[in-house]
């Protein structure tokens, strides 16, 4: 009797050490999680649920990530070009220390919305595998396109995807 009790407790601990598997990666066609995060001005928050109807480009970035730095001028470009047509760029910063992000934004000002998630809960929800990773989300909140990394040679292809999403957007 006693022995079986020990056996069960040992089994229990064995099973509890087997850590929980990650949720499946967010892919094309999946519904993007609804997140509300503070923005650069801190007083306002950006809520993905409130952006329904718009084409949302969610980008996860950090100050320490080189390709993210490359993507900023391009995202500024996209914002100026396509924001009037319904594109909303939400760049979610995942720096553990906020001042690092502020310093980055000082040298690389962003025209688009910048949100902050120092705890890293949002990238976990999206199951981000690389930095930067961007998600293009349609008006219904569904993922249209996922892009990992950023190179200058990606610019044209990404813009085409955005362009297509904007033309197909339900008015």
């Amino acid at each position: 009797m006693i022995r079986s009790k020990y056996c069960y407790s040992a089994l229990f601990f064995l099973s509890s050490t087997a850590w929980l598997g990650n949720a499946a990666a967010l892919g094309v066609g999946d519904v993007a999680p609804n997140v509300a995060l503070p923005t650069a001005t801190a007083a306002t928050t950006v809520d993905l649920a409130k952006l329904k109807g718009k084409i949302v480009y969610v980008d996860f970035w950090a100050s320490w990530c080189g390709p993210c730095k490359q993507s900023f001028p391009w995202m500024n470009d996209m914002h100026t070009k396509h924001a009037p047509r319904g594109l909303e760029i939400v760049a979610i910063n995942v720096d553990a220390k906020m001042p690092d992000a502020q310093r980055f934004l000082g040298t690389m000002p962003a025209k688009f919305t910048v949100a902050f998630d120092a705890k890293g809960q949002t990238p976990k929800l999206f199951d981000v595998k690389a930095m930067p990773t961007s998600y293009l989300i349609d008006g219904d909140g569904k993922v249209l396109y996922v892009h990992a990394g950023f190179r200058d040679s990606d610019r044209a292809a990404l813009e085409t995807v955005i362009e297509n999403a904007l033309t197909q957007r339900k008015k």
Binding site: S9, L14, A62, M131
Partner: protein
């Protein structure tokens, strides 16, 4: 009596086994996620943080040992530099 005599080392065994399992739990720690690599991306975290020194070392490896690359994403292995 026999039962009582055996139950003590069994309890000790159980404690030992449990503590071993707990320490095993430490091995199951998740590697840093993509967004948690801020500290790993710091210059101090590279194998050689001084670019001049690294270039010198690479030069020695290349000229004496005909070996190059393997210190980053690009280069090395194909002999084409």
């Amino acid at each position: 009596m026999n039962f009582r005599y055996r139950s003590i080392p069994l309890a000790l065994l159980a404690v030992g086994a449990l503590s071993a399992l707990f320490s095993l739990g430490g091995c199951a720690m998740q590697p840093p996620q993509a967004w948690e690599k801020g500290d790993l991306a710091r210059k101090e975290m590279t194998m050689e943080s001084d670019p001049l020194d690294q270039a010198f070392t690479q030069h020695v490896y290349f000229s004496k040992e005909s070996a190059s690359g393997g210190y980053g994403a690009g280069g090395g292995g194909c002999g084409c530099n």
